[in-house]
């Protein structure tokens, strides 16, 4: 009797909608955080410029879309260009700092983020640009017209992450990346060209950030500060998932996005962000190695 009253009080329709929303943002966040955690894991660099690589990816998407009219070409070119830019940034600013105080790499990447942000402001101006989604179909979900494109984002992000995982798992270069992540010194002694692996890992992370920028562009405006919110959330995800742990980051991205999505049923989305910080603080207090990693022995 009472149970049915409680069950009837739960807004099932909203929960389903928010589950979908949470998974969509979770997958985008996972894509950004995968790159961040890859870079941290392999070279102990906390990349403060990661959000700007995401932003730059979105802008390159805008430009390519405007010239070619193809969303898919925009996605591809933005990913490749930002990957190359990432390689250049790594060689110019991070390679010389390897093995120094972590503070130096934090300052270096922070400097890069300021440069990229102001470059975007100078080049594109303060007015937000828009990326047109490749198709604008909807389907009916209760009282909502839910865009198919959102589901496509989740699917594509999952595909990119899955592809990346397969690459890490089976490719020769994937083994090099994992070996270098675990023991940089021994990797060198086994003939793995560690400086090259570092550069390539940074480029891959940058490319993944750019891809998520283009994919997410149609849902929000593209402007020069769009990276800030995301990189903050991606940092939370990386810490909650266990620094440098790829699977943990993906699980944490979906977990936190779902929590935020559910919280925004009852409070405004701006307040729902608080949930992420609560999770972050609880994680740091009680399980600082990360929620989604096995307890260290």
């Amino acid at each position: 009797m009472q149970l049915t009253a409680i069950l009837a009080g739960i807004p099932w329709d909203q929960i389903l909608i928010q589950t979908l929303n949470g998974i969509v943002t979770g997958m985008i966040l996972a894509l950004i955080a995968s790159g961040l955690t890859l870079i941290f894991g392999i070279m102990d660099v906390v990349n403060f410029a990661h959000g700007e690589l995401f932003m730059l990816g979105a802008y390159i998407g805008v430009v390519v879309l405007a010239t070619t009219g193809s969303f898919w070409l925009a996605l591809l070119i933005a990913t490749l260009v930002v990957a190359l830019l990432g390689a250049a940034i790594q060689i110019a600013t991070l390679r010389p700092l390897l093995g120094r105080d972590p503070l130096t790499t934090i300052l270096a990447t922070f400097g890069v983020s300021l440069i990229l942000q102001n470059y975007a402001l100078w080049q594109f101006g303060p007015v937000a640009r828009k990326i047109q989604e490749p198709f604008s179909g909807h389907f009916k979900l209760f009282y909502l017209e839910y865009p198919w494109y959102r589901l496509l984002i989740a699917g594509l992000s999952a595909a990119i992450i899955g592809g990346f995982w397969l690459f890490l798992k089976h490719g020769k270069f994937g083994i090099w990346i994992r070996a270098t992540t675990q023991d940089r010194v021994m990797a060198q002694a086994m003939g793995i060209p560690v400086p090259l692996v570092h550069t390539a890992a940074f480029a891959i992370g940058a490319g993944m950030a750019a891809a998520s920028g283009v994919l997410f562009g149609p849902l929000v405006g593209v402007n020069h500060t769009m990276g800030l919110d995301w990189v903050l959330k991606a940092f939370i995800v990386v810490v909650v998932g266990g620094m440098g742990n790829l699977g943990g980051s993906i699980a944490a991205a979906i977990f936190i996005s779902l929590l935020e999505a559910y919280a925004s049923i009852w409070v405004s989305p701006a307040q729902a962000v608080i949930v992420s910080f609560v999770v972050l603080i609880l994680t740091l207090l009680f399980r600082p190695t990360g929620l989604f990693v096995p307890t260290p022995k």
Binding site: I175, A179, G191
Partner: protein, 244 residues
């Protein structure tokens, strides 16, 4: 003194000095290893034996002195290039890639330029014949192996480079007697295959048995050099430098 007859040694280390911060670890190490030769490096804990190996493979930069490999000065070369030139390194703490499977550990050395699938298969077969237990556990994570198995994996991994020399740092440390004799056999196998070995050990009898020549280090430098058959386990020299 030259046992390598008239041809140049495979590796020659000349007057190597190394600092860790302010402490002067290596204070002029000079030694050489001939092609296919097994050379022991003895000494008490902390005299710089491991640092000598690390400096040879390029993991530690010397402040003075040089390392000559096959006639070329390689002192400032990065470790990964030395590894490709044919220098294998088996560190004291083994440093297995714990989250990689046995097979993936081996592939870190196997997947390199110039290796055809056929060559890879042949090399793997050969190594699995020496270490059947690694073949059994090829899909198991390296971190789950026992200490002795990890030591075998560390040696097998170095063999994937088809090295001309293996720098072998305390391979029997902490192993059961049965494992120790297995490691001993592997040293002989490598010797037969004409792989040179620079063997750092605490186990004096084993070192004297396995090596052709031995160097004895004290306080960061080589103090004694002799043919292994000229030294006895209870030799006065051994007493003097090793206190055993």
């Amino acid at each position: 003194m030259s046992t390598a007859a008239n041809d140049a040694p495979l590796i020659a280390v000349e007057d190597l000095h190394t600092y860790y911060g302010k402490s002067h670890i290596l204070q002029g190490v000079t030694l050489h290893v001939g092609s296919g030769e097994v050379v022991g490096l003895l000494g008490r804990n902390g005299v710089g034996k491991s640092t000598t190996l690390k400096t040879i493979i390029g993991l530690v930069q010397p402040s003075h002195g040089k390392v000559v490999f096959e006639g070329n000065v390689v002192t400032s070369m990065p470790p990964h290039r030395l590894a490709r030139l044919g220098m294998g390194y088996v560190p004291e703490d083994r440093r297995i890639f714990r989250l990689l499977t046995v097979m993936e550990n081996l592939r870190t050395g196997l997947d390199r330029a110039g290796m055809t699938d056929e060559k890879k298969r042949a090399l793997l077969e050969k190594v699995f014949a020496y270490f059947p237990v690694l073949a059994e556990r090829r899909n198991q994570a390296g971190g789950t192996l026992s200490g002795g198995e990890q030591q075998m994996l560390a040696i097998a991994r170095a063999m994937m480079l088809e090295p001309k020399i293996i720098l072998l740092d305390e391979p029997t440390e902490g192993l059961m007697p049965r494992m120790v004799s297995q490691i001993r056999n592997i040293v002989d196998v490598l010797h037969r295959e004409n792989v040179a070995i620079l063997l750092v050990e605490q186990n004096v009898p084993l070192t004297l048995e396995a090596s052709e020549r031995v160097y004895i280090m004290e306080k960061g430098a080589v103090r004694h050099h002799a043919a292994a058959r000229d030294l006895k386990v209870n030799d006065a020299v051994i007493h003097q430098y090793l206190g055993v």
